[in-house]
Symmetry: C2
Subunit: 375 residues, 2 copies
């Protein structure tokens, strides 16, 4: 295999883990506006370029010299950067989870003969990918997954540390949760329908509705689908109180002579409380259930993921589970295993048995293990 030149846009927590992972096999250049973020590569084989990645022309000029691109920018920059890379005619795997509809870029990607795999993280990402595989091999009637990133040590009252900015975390608790029920898209309040669920090694967690199905609402014809977020019990009740009282509101309130959005203050306060300390142990837990029939026989397939931070490298479980899914996908393109053009979501890639096996094996080699059980 030719030693591809790979450009990784973004050297944050996940992007830098991806650069390091890819550098074992590829000629990798990490790009970021922050010199500090780039300095972590000083003693590694990863090259660096400091660049303003919010500038469309700069992105296009930058990626022109590379064979493949990884998008690991913050969500709000994601859509524009993927568009720029497509216009530059480069294949990309993006894990920025931007809020816009990626399929709006489908025509553009096809026009430029580009494979643009988006949302290939852990969830969305592996959840969709695994569903995609089984949806082609059985009649799926119900798909549910629950996922969360949590600290090992539980500290009252939140028992929670955020791997990313509280504003983004809180957004999950205010955006209405869309799900499929009896073949129809229904919308429920985020935080609704809490339930207690037991996990080996971890204990009892609480799952509640969030808006995590994303592309599946469009790409899948499954009568019942839902996503839930996992937290330690008690957390959800507090967030529900804050939400109900108005602490998560983005409507200005007047204090003295200034107008303040309560969410801005709440985020500031929670940022301190939710800060994951360096070296603090944390894990990512996910359970996927795919129910239906195969040859008229009832099937209930469950995948369980429990991944811990890497104490040796200091790479978080969020960066491992999200980043290595993305780098696996990049390897699919580089290795010629996947070449469909257009905007590609993980459920489309999962249909391919060779791709399915490759990705699970790739993750397993990195200690990210999906345990399958059939009921």
């Amino acid at each position: 295999m030719k030693k591809y030149k790979v450009c990784v846009l973004g050297a944050g927590m996940v992007g830098s883990a991806m650069s390091k992972d890819l550098s074992e096999k590829f000629d990798v250049t990490a790009c970021d506006i922050s010199k500090e973020n780039l300095s972590q590569f000083n003693k590694s084989q990863v090259k660096t370029i400091q660049a303003d990645l919010s500038n469309r022309k700069e992105v296009q000029k930058l990626v022109s010299g590379f064979d493949l691109v990884v998008g690991a920018l913050p969500g709000f920059m994601g859509f524009e950067s993927v568009k720029s890379v497509i216009e530059a005619g480069k294949n990309i795997v993006d894990i920025s989870f931007f809020p816009e509809d990626a399929f709006e870029l489908d025509k553009l990607a096809k026009k430029h003969d580009v494979t643009a795999i988006v949302d290939f993280g852990v969830a969305p990402g592996m959840s969709n990918f695994i569903l995609g595989y089984y949806n082609d091999r059985m009649k799926v009637t119900r798909f549910e997954f629950m996922v969360g990133g949590l600290p090992k040590v539980r500290e009252w009252p939140f028992h929670y540390k955020a791997p990313f900015s509280p504003v983004d975390v809180i957004e999950e608790y205010t955006r209405p949760a869309r799900m499929m029920e009896n073949g129809k898209v229904v919308t429920k309040d985020a935080l609704s329908e809490p339930e207690l669920v037991y996990f080996d090694e971890i204990g009892t967690l609480e799952a509640f509705n969030t808006d995590g199905l994303r592309s599946l609402l469009k790409t899948m014809k499954i009568p019942d689908m839902k996503e839930k977020t996992l937290r330690y019990p008690g957390y959800r009740d507090i967030i529900a109180v804050l939400k109900s009282a108005g602490f998560l509101s983005t409507d200005d309130i007047q204090i003295g002579r200034t107008n303040i959005k309560p969410l801005d203050m709440t985020s500031k306060i929670l940022f301190k409380k939710w800060k994951l300390e360096p070296g603090e142990d944390e894990f990512t837990v996910m359970r996927i259930n795919i129910m239906g029939t195969q040859d008229k026989k009832a099937q209930n397939i469950q995948y369980d993921l429990l991944d811990w931070n890497d104490k040796g490298t200091g790479i978080s479980s969020m960066a491992r589970t999200t980043g290595y899914s993305g780098t696996a996908a990049l390897n699919l393109i580089a290795g010629g295993l996947y070449g469909q053009k257009g905007i590609i979501t993980p459920e489309l890639v999962g249909r391919n048995e060779e791709c399915f096996n490759f990705v699970l094996k790739y993750l397993k080699q990195r200690g990210v293990i999906y345990r399958k059980t059939e009921k």
Copy 2:
């Protein structure tokens, strides 16, 4: 009895109830800076004077033409106004519950030959008054009281409505709670030592430590004394979370280019959630326990108060229980039942049997009933 001219400083919720009550017997003038507050007396026999009561000279000039003064101003104005009234040589009953130490004015009051009864509300107020009575008649070893003002209808998540500003309510949850334990003043966190307590007609409430003993810490030699605040169960946990997370902090945090005290925003948010709607039913509940020995026999005397808002007049239970205690005290002075000079707290007045019986009877006539049980 001569028809005394009484000046009531402050025509807020409690002050206006006091003016109306006193006007049945005295020539009453209500004073306030707000025309709107004064307009409620348009069709009553209460006279009104609009005045800036934060101005010391104006207060002294104002009260000079009266025989007796009632202080019913907000706490932050209380100390200065009482001082002004003393300097004007007028007897006063004050229910502003100012944070300063009233006894600092004791010499001044004696010099001007003034009786200044302070803190004569429900709690502090009647709690101290009843203790004062029994402390002279038995060996009290333990004194506890719990008190709260609550709405009839419980709405999740707070199950609470504030009869006064949330800032003042929240202050009770942040100020360390001083109490007597084994003859020593000890300080515990506000909200600490929660316990569930059952009340007839109301059900189970939750009691937690607050800083409510005030003058009793100085005037009483009782080895164990504590005060607790009563709320519906669940409320305390939420406040404890807000406090622990930093939402009640008065340390500036920076949001954009402005500095904001979290407490200022939290108060604004809770003001809306905690607003008692006009006509909304609410009650004041208090339980006082006085334990000790009388003639070497163990004694446990309990007083229970449960008072509802007056649907006819719209006067709240807070205004009834606080205001009518204060007007009872004013009647003690007017009727010559109490004449000691200096700063007088309710526990000092309660020592006098005639005063004790008069006040309880006065309150009973207004439907504010203290039920006594002996165990």
